[in-house]
């Protein structure tokens, strides 16, 4: 009887799955703390960064969803809350009246800008114990993981 792995030892794929999720959760939790301290949820912060990246033209709701880290199944009310706080504006298009485009407000931009440096510093500190070569390697492997498409 030949075994590739010790009986009882989890297969490498399982270990990676768990480690990846735990690492993501640990890193995200730290950032969340900071984001929450600024009165945002991570989903809201994510949307604002996407809208800033999109520029003054704004983006349709579903495109925002596609670009988010973890897709929100209820974009409408996520944007509702952000609009109420004047972080974004929404406007139904005239060319295609099905589409509603969202844009970030000046107030939203200001809040984002305030958070930029601390977030960058936090990310740097999270990986400060790793060499640059190891980080490049990790980035490379994560891209390879992402190449897997479900279905």
């Amino acid at each position: 009887m030949t075994l590739r792995t010790k009986p009882g030892a989890a297969p490498l794929e399982d270990q990676i799955f768990v480690s990846l999720l735990k690492a993501a959760d640990a890193l995200a939790s730290e950032v969340d703390q900071f984001i929450k301290a600024n009165g945002l949820t991570s989903a809201q912060y994510n949307v604002m960064r996407i809208l800033r990246g999109a520029g003054p033209d704004g983006l349709p709701c579903n495109t925002i969803g596609e670009r988010m880290i973890s897709r929100d199944p209820d974009m409408t009310r996520l944007l509702d809350r952000m609009e109420k706080r004047e972080l974004i504006t929404r406007e139904r298009q005239t060319e295609d009246r099905r589409v509603v485009k969202a844009r970030i407000t000046d107030e939203g931009l200001k809040l984002l800008k305030k958070m930029d440096a601390p977030i960058r510093e936090l990310h740097k500190s999270q990986f400060a114990h790793m060499t640059s070569a190891r980080l490049k390697s990790l980035m490379d492997l994560l891209s390879e993981v992402a190449a897997h498409k479900p279905e």
Copy 2:
């Protein structure tokens, strides 16, 4: 003026952060689908695996929390729902009457066992496009990431 990175290009740490979270989300979503099809949430599934690993002695609630992939801030009601469905039992200890130990039931074990093989196959398929050497490398780097402790 010397720049380490192109202006406008996100620092490597930021890219890794986003890639790690996106990868984790994509992988977890696939598994979640299967877990939900079996009537569980991923938190419930996670708790059940932890309790199976703990054996017949069970575990105190807070220890379960520590071992979870993403710590649930409301263990009591998570376990409430699982107890109601007879996936686990709970019993207050007599030595230390503050402690409530949870154990997995036979029904819970049966459900877990039914899911074992499909989950393992799913994980294998998620990483099937990567060589074993690359996977080892990834596991190694993820352990290194986890070495960072906040605060």
